[in-house]
């Protein structure tokens, strides 16, 4: 029996890595089919498929090869490409960590988007209005972004702890308030947030000055390092701290946690505040990292991509880093696919991303598809099912 259970634990870990890798390849395969079928030459060759099938296969192979070749070379193929990918990964990693952390306490934090938006407003406002010496201004701007995100996250935690409001609903609503209320209002109605003399009609803030920007080394900005440090801190928090112990305990069994004297209210509020802080840090990647002007489309859907990053990373800090990097690479490489002769649309990458998560969410389906399904359940207790 003893050897058996060990195997089960290790087996579970190996299983989840295998499933993830299989999901990625499966998604890339379906992506390849889409790329081929969306290419005019390939579609033409299908017209005479039964006469000369070779054309269809060679053209498909060619188109897919060009597109995926570009995907890889543009994201990982050179120093510049890699730097670009890392910079693009940083916000995904940070926000993914926030969503992961909340997962572990049993909270489904859909609110990264709103938390990031608040973060961008605060970081950019402090960055371009305050007059402070270089490094201090950078510090103040980043701190403002983090605090604003934490504040926005804590609201959802507070509503959950005090009023029992479900966090999925409150975070979705807070996203709306952040995007349509706070951001749009601040940029279009409040002078303090606007770029002076902007007559183009697009409401936006000026970028932060150079002294409030992350320093760069080989094209990689400091934010990437901060994202990795954040991952290490989250790992420590989860596995080595009393708060992490409470957080995981509440996430698995809130009743037993309360009985053991833990405060679920404290855990909910703190977890959401920290998750928001991580999203706030993600916001700084745009403001202080890319030195971008804040406008309504600056952060895109990064807060929602963060949910997929957390899902793919299975709620672990290392997983979030790897998944964030993968999605960063896909985003950078996906845009470049358009520049090949095949002219593949960058949207294919979004389909691939979604498919990966879909396959990860349905591991049984993947196992069946790749025929690695095991006949034997690996433990008596799994087989017991209904008995405690």
């Amino acid at each position: 029996m003893s050897g058996k259970r060990r195997f089960r634990l290790d087996g579970k870990w190996v299983d989840s890595v295998l499933t993830t890798v299989a999901a990625i390849f499966l998604a890339l395969f379906i992506g390849a089919v889409l790329i081929a079928l969306s290419n005019e030459d390939v579609v033409d060759s299908m017209g005479y498929f039964f006469v000369y099938p070779w054309d269809f296969f060679s053209r498909s192979f060619d188109v897919v090869g060009q597109s995926y070749g570009k995907l890889i070379s543009a994201s990982l193929g050179s120093g510049d490409a890699l730097a670009n990918t890392l910079n693009r990964s940083a916000p995904l990693i940070c926000a993914g960590l926030g969503v992961s952390l909340a997962f572990r306490s049993g909270l489904f934090n859909i609110g990264a988007q709103g938390q990031i938006i608040l973060g961008t407003l605060a970081a950019s406002y402090v960055g371009f209005t305050w007059d402070l010496p270089g490094p201090i201004l950078l510090l103040a701007s980043v701190a403002a972004g983090i605090l604003a995100g934490a504040f926005w996250g804590a609201i959802a935690g507070f509503l959950k702890a005090v009023a029992g409001a479900h966090e999925v609903i409150s975070t979705i609503m807070l996203n709306q308030v952040a995007a349509l209320g706070v951001l749009a209002y601040a940029l279009s109605e409040m002078k303090a947030f606007q770029k002076p003399g902007d007559t183009l009609g697009l409401p936006q803030s000026p970028p932060v000055p150079d002294k409030a920007a992350f320093p760069e080394l080989f094209g990689v900005h400091l934010g990437v390092v901060l994202a990795l440090v954040a991952a290490a801190i989250v790992w420590w928090l989860l596995n080595r701290s009393t708060l992490g112990f409470e957080l995981r305990s509440v996430g698995s069994n809130p009743e037993a946690s309360r009985t053991a004297g833990m405060s679920t209210a404290k855990v909910f509020i703190l977890t959401m505040a920290i998750a928001g802080a991580l999203s706030g840090l993600a916001a700084c990647m745009f403001i202080n990292g890319d030195q971008a002007s804040n406008n309504e489309s600056l952060v895109g859907s990064v807060g929602f991509d963060a949910i997929t990053v957390a899902l793919l990373g299975r709620g672990t800090p290392l997983g979030s880093v790897l998944a964030g990097f993968l999605f960063g690479a896909l985003a950078v490489g996906g845009g470049a696919m358009q520049t090949t002769d095949a002219g593949t649309a960058p949207e294919v990458v979004q389909v691939i991303q979604s498919l990966i998560v879909l396959f990860v969410a349905a591991p049984a389906a993947v196992r069946w598809l790749v025929r690695q399904r095991r006949k034997e359940p690996t433990s008596t207790f799994a087989a017991k099912g209904v008995t405690p």
């Binding site: 029996m1 050897g3 634990l9 069994n253 009985t259 359940p377 087989a383 405690p388």
Partner: protein, 506 residues
């Protein structure tokens, strides 16, 4: 229908959960399957019910070999199973639940379903209202619905998996009556349990499984000690050795406590109690008479609406669980999987679930990992927790070992009061002996102990004084020398002197 099992074996990797089991269940027989938690009873039943495929051996019905690949095959062959945790839809009515899975066509025929339920319940003496919603009926009646479901599928062989674990003593008596009725009508019953008294009361034959092997078959005339020895593999003491208590001063005092539950019912009515150092106070009563709420309020999990709780002269009524625990109250909760441990957490983590804040296991925000690991190794040895390693999730241990984790944790800090609610529910005989011994040892250290149990045997075995609760009140406090019948009367709402029935909610 006769059921034969020949050489049935089930392996999980290199672990043999069932090792060449031979068993014959005759028609109209109540065959008890006795064994400790984790002995392999459920594995065997899951193979019979098509939930697991055997690695070796075969199952014969009336001499014909059969193979089941899903419960559907087993049901069609006439095997029914009532799981320990009911598979009912709470918001559906009894009739709807019974016809679940056999709707037959796109239009529901509720009338026919209700008729079928009524007919079956009359034939077998299972009294249920077909129109009642399952969430509104008591657990014992829900179990009858499960049995009806099986009977509606024409089950000839009924598997009852630990059916009494969730029942009150009266409901257990009713269930046994139902089992006898079914038997009289030719249904065979496989009755899985680890309670010796029940086996002797209702069984025709008793098969004992230990560590995956069938160790023997006994007649119900065998003594409880003999059965326990077969089950555990060594002689087991069924009584608790204890000396007279050295009773000290009152430690925990409850004064005029009243609790109103969220639905507005007064569930605890003006209760006063005191627990004294070095003494075990038993609280007896049929489940649902306010014990659960009373205990939760002692711990600060439920706010009383009136009255106070004093610990060593200080009021702790509204401290909340954390500070109550820190004040020196140990708590073994009634439902361990719900309140006692975190299933996904390892043994190591569960052993400090309410201790991690202490200086011993953390400094500031950081956990002291080495100390937590050392504590785990120490407790695993001291309490004989059977686990592969300290990193094994508690959810995958057997019930007895899960309870040992909870008990070990609560006993690993200095206590003024120990509150143990159903400390041995769902725990095998060997572990019961151990847990009882530790409780008495704690008493002899001078801790005030409060035991809440619906099992009178346990109350009698441990208590130095017994308070009986009925309908939210402590109706009397008696000595454990009292006759069983007298306590039974008090539990049913009678008073010791007059014997008048106060009526009210049961």
């Amino acid at each position: 229908m006769q059921l034969q099992i020949q050489g049935l074996t089930r392996r999980f990797g290199d672990f043999v959960a069932n090792d060449a089991i031979d068993l014959t269940i005759e028609p109209g027989e109540i065959h008890c399957l006795l064994g400790e938690n984790g002995a392999g009873k459920s594995t065997l039943m899951n193979m019979l019910y098509g939930l697991l495929e055997p690695s070796d051996g075969q199952i014969l019905l009336d001499g014909e070999p059969v193979t089941f690949t899903s419960p559907k095959d087993a049901i069609n062959a006439g095997i029914g199973m009532v799981h320990q945790h009911f598979m009912l839809v709470p918001v559906f009515t009894v009739a709807e639940n019974v016809m679940l899975g056999r709707e037959g066509g796109p239009v529901l025929n509720r009338g026919a379903a209700a008729r079928k339920v009524r007919e079956l319940s009359e034939r077998y003496g299972l009294h249920v209202d077909p129109k009642a919603r399952v969430e509104d009926i008591p657990v014992g009646v829900q179990q009858r619905v499960e049995i009806l479901k099986a009977l509606a599928n024409d089950a000839k062989i009924l598997i009852l998996d630990e059916p009494t674990a969730v029942l009150t003593p009266q409901e257990i008596d009713e269930l046994m009556e139902i089992m006898r009725q079914l038997k009289a009508r030719g249904t065979s019953i496989i009755f899985i349990t680890h309670k010796l008294r029940e086996v002797k009361a209702v069984g025709d034959r008793i098969s004992v499984i230990r560590r995956g092997k069938l160790v023997g078959t006994a007649e119900p005339t065998a003594s409880e000690a003999e059965l326990a020895e077969m089950m555990v593999g060594r002689a087991v003491k069924l009584t608790v050795d204890k000396d007279a208590p050295h009773v000290g001063a009152p430690v925990l005092e409850v004064r005029n406590l009243t609790i109103i539950d969220p639905r507005g019912h007064e569930v605890v009515k003006n209760v006063s109690l005191e627990a004294r150092a070095g003494e075990v106070l038993g609280i007896a009563g049929v489940q649902g008479n306010g014990q659960t709420e009373l205990i939760k309020s002692l711990l600060g999990l439920v706010r009383p609406s009136a009255g106070e709780v004093m610990l060593d002269g200080d009021e702790i009524t509204r401290l909340g669980p954390r500070r109550t625990l820190e004040a020196g109250i140990g708590y073994i909760p009634e439902d361990r999987s719900h309140d006692g441990y975190v299933a996904e957490f390892s043994v190591r983590e569960n052993l400090v679930l309410d201790l991690y804040r202490s200086d011993e296991f953390s400094s500031g925000p950081a956990l002291k990992l080495a100390a937590i690991e050392a504590n785990a190794d120490h407790r695993i040895e001291e309490f004989d927790i059977r686990t592969t390693s300290r990193e094994t999730p508690v959810g995958s241990l057997s019930g007895g070992n899960q309870q040992k984790v909870v008990v070990a944790r609560e006993f690993s800090r200095p206590l003024k009061v120990l509150i143990a609610s159903q400390p041995t529910r769902g725990v095998d005989v060997g572990s019961i002996e151990f847990i009882h011994k530790r409780i008495i040892a704690e008493r002899d250290k001078g801790t005030a102990v409060i035991i809440i149990s619906t099992e009178l045997d346990e109350i009698f075995a441990l208590s130095d004084r017994i308070a009986v609760m009925y309908d939210g009140r402590v109706v009397d406090t008696v000595s454990p020398d009292i006759q069983r019948e007298e306590i039974g009367l008090l539990m049913a709402g009678g008073t010791k002197d007059a014997g008048t029935n106060q009526g009210g909610a049961a």
